[in-house]
């Protein structure tokens, strides 16, 4: 093993600290019905199954280009999106599969997009990194870290100017918090009291850069103080903790009281993207997190232990999610490629293209 950016002792110490300071007990808020809770589990399972299948499909050349796994983060997107309504918006990151599923997107269309097919969400022109299910309120994944920040602010501005009741969740990563536009966006949304929820998925790694080497203060939520808005850190492996924080932030936002910064802390215990060999860290250091904190297992176990559902039902939900993903894979493999004459469509609006040609 060459030099690792983290030793086993450091990883274990971080995990202990996480358990002591950030981890929250799994407990469903009273307003979530059994069906709501099972739906959260179903979506988490769907994300897990989807992203578990992406890497082998990429290796077999069915999926082209880049893809970033949402594995380990399932509780963040699903918990957050369970707390908002139809008509609300989210913006995404380069790690967007989980966001699409959490907003109720169609895994068939997403898998088709990852395979570059014509019936994919983006007609085969976006791929994994630009996955977008706009009709579900998911305003698209972006390959530039931090760049979704002002786009979310703009969606929130529309709500304010057009007197609409919706909120926008701005998903972003810990890496994005050190981009200039992150700070500009928080400041602008704060000073204008915009209905936006900045939800930082702090997976503690920006590719090979551990967050504690990227910023002096490891608590991202503390930055909210500088912008005069509430900031809260929650257990990002716990969908109920994320749900509750987003629910409260959404209430504030809809009342016109402005944005909230939520730091959902978890740990990326898989590679940054499909081709990441993780040469920057000893992968054994991932294991304590993967084994101890896996959010999908944790949710499944909670459902059984709390008597919300029996093991059989929980397993059946998982199996059904796995089957849905397999169907999506079969569908996408059989789907047709985009026609060459679609190359120039959607560069400009249809009316512009009709007049001036697409190019």
């Amino acid at each position: 093993m060459p030099i690792s950016a983290i030793s086993m002792d450091e990883s274990l110490a971080k995990l202990e600290k996480f358990k002591k300071e950030v981890m929250q007990e799994m407990k469903a808020p009273p307003e979530l019905s059994v069906e709501d809770q099972l739906e959260i589990y179903r979506k988490m399972a769907l994300i897990r199954e989807f992203d578990t299948n992406v890497k082998p499909l990429w290796k077999q050349n069915y999926i082209y280009g880049l893809a970033h796994s949402y594995q380990g983060a399932e509780a963040v997107a699903v918990g957050a999106c369970a707390a908002i309504k139809k008509g609300d918006f989210i913006t995404s990151t380069h790690r967007g599969h989980g966001h699409v599923i959490a907003m109720g997107g169609d895994v068939k269309k997403m898998m088709s997009e990852l395979m570059g097919k014509a019936d994919g969400y983006c007609k085969g022109k976006g791929g994994s990194m630009h996955i977008a299910s706009v009709d579900d309120g998911m305003l698209g994944a972006t390959g530039i870290v931090g760049s979704g920040m002002p786009i979310a602010v703009g969606a929130a501005l529309s709500a304010q100017v057009l007197k609409k009741d919706y909120v926008t969740i701005c998903f972003h990563g810990d890496g994005g918090t050190n981009q200039g536009v992150w700070h500009e966006s928080l400041n602008l949304a704060a000073v204008w009291n915009l209905p936006v929820i900045f939800l930082c998925e702090n997976n503690q790694w920006a590719i090979s850069m551990p967050y504690d080497k990227a910023a002096k203060n490891p608590n991202i939520a503390d930055r909210a103080i500088g912008y005069g808005i509430p900031g809260v850190t929650v257990d990002g492996f716990n969908p109920f903790a994320v749900y509750a924080a987003v629910r409260d932030a959404a209430v504030r936002a809809r009342k016109g009281e402005g944005p909230t910064l939520i730091e959902a802390r978890y740990y990326r215990y898989v590679g940054h993207f499909v081709a990441d060999d993780e040469r920057y860290r000893d992968t054994a250091t991932n294991n304590p997190w993967a084994e101890g904190m896996d959010p999908v297992n944790r949710m499944g176990e909670y459902l059984v232990k709390s008597g919300t559902a029996d093991e059989e039902r929980v397993d059946a939900i998982y199996e059904s999610a796995a089957k849905e993903v397999q169907n999506a894979i079969e569908h996408a493999k059989a789907a047709i490629e985009p026609a060459a004459d679609t190359l120039y469509t959607d560069i400009y609006s249809p009316e512009f293209s009709a007049r001036y040609g697409g190019e």
Binding site: F89, H130, V134, T142, M149
Partner: protein, 329 residues
């Protein structure tokens, strides 16, 4: 019926009328509201339409432009104002990677009705960070449209087309052109100027001069002087850089068989190179002479008045280029 106003007034009217017409139009930028923009372009807008739609912002160009994108994607028609076009480098990621590509990347699901307005241009000792024109950069990016009006009529009409369209437009006004006067239709007469239609500002049979933005005025002055020497120049103002009206240029070159392109921004990789390349591609056989580009020199704009005047292309330089082409130098 018509009347004479300045470009500054034309743009002010265009904003006023469009804000009145469409309640989804908003504007944001530094000093755009209460102060009414440093040149007075948005004067009265704040008083009439209020702080909700006319928004003074902190100095955060990336957030201003990115916020406009998010707003455009969700039902507004925002205008982002950049105080000097040189600072458009700050929101460059938002413009090039987000605004230009979002419709395409996301399968045509998102409309981007967005105008970014910024004053370009040199002169007046504003030195290296307040003098540039970046039309070539944005013309290079598929997904963007680039507009450079230099008469009051065009400024007003092109602005209306820009704000009513569903695509992102870079709207570059020349800051030395704000006081240029010209005729516009009477108040209350609504009109637009379509993109991609150049105007022949002066007809002539000897040399075609394609003159971008403020250079159209300098080219007209040069053409007047050359007329005294018996040389007839045809001056074309393209008005929009993308889409670009090659048809009008080719038609002219087919008559004159000589082409000069002039723009104020520096020559290297400038829009002139693209225009010449396209004309050569489309109508090489029409050209009797090697096309010539009269453009800014490849230096950061110097502060000193004399040095500055060496960099900015003048009517005299255009005149000399024409004389040389006509073997009259």
């Amino acid at each position: 019926m018509s009347r004479t106003i300045t470009i500054k007034q034309a743009l002010n009217e265009a904003h006023m009328e469009e804000f009145e017409r469409d309640p989804t139009i908003i504007i944001m930028g530094c000093d755009v509201g209460f102060r009414g923009n440093p040149f007075g372009l948005t004067k009265g807008l704040y008083e009439k339409f209020g702080a909700e739609r006319v928004r003074d912002t902190p100095i955060s160009e990336a957030a201003i432009v990115g916020t406009c994108l998010g707003a455009a994607a969700t039902g507004l028609r925002p205008i982002a104002e950049i105080l000097f076009s040189d600072w458009i480098t700050i929101p460059m990621d938002q413009i090039v990677n987000q605004i230009a590509k979002i419709r395409y990347m996301f399968g045509g699901k998102i409309n981007v009705p967005l105008v970014i307005r910024a004053p370009v241009g040199a002169g007046g000792g504003q030195a290296a960070q307040h003098s540039q024109s970046f039309e070539a950069w944005f013309s290079h990016v598929p997904g963007l449209q680039v507009v450079m009006p230099i008469t009051p009529y065009d400024a007003k009409g092109l602005f209306k087309t820009a704000i009513r369209g569903n695509d992102p437009v870079l709207f570059f006004e020349h800051k030395r052109g704000y006081e240029i006067t010209g005729e516009v239709p009477d108040e209350g007469v609504d009109y637009t100027v379509p993109f991609g239609e150049a105007v022949v500002r002066r007809e002539g049979k000897d040399v075609t001069i394609v003159a971008v933005s403020i250079m159209a005025h300098k080219a007209l002055l040069a053409a007047e002087a050359l007329h005294q020497l018996g040389i007839d120049c045809e001056v074309i103002d393209p008005r929009t850089i993308y889409p670009f009206d090659y048809e009008t240029v080719i038609k002219s070159v087919s008559k004159t068989h000589r082409l000069i392109v002039t723009h104020e921004s520096n020559r290297r990789s400038g829009i002139g190179a693209e225009i010449v390349s396209q004309v050569v591609d489309m109508a090489f056989e029409e050209l009797d002479e090697k096309p010539v580009i009269v453009a800014g020199l490849n230096v950061p704009m110097p502060f000193n008045r004399t040095l500055e005047s060496m960099v900015i292309p003048s009517e005299e330089k255009i005149k000399q280029a024409v004389l040389q082409m006509m073997d009259r130098a």
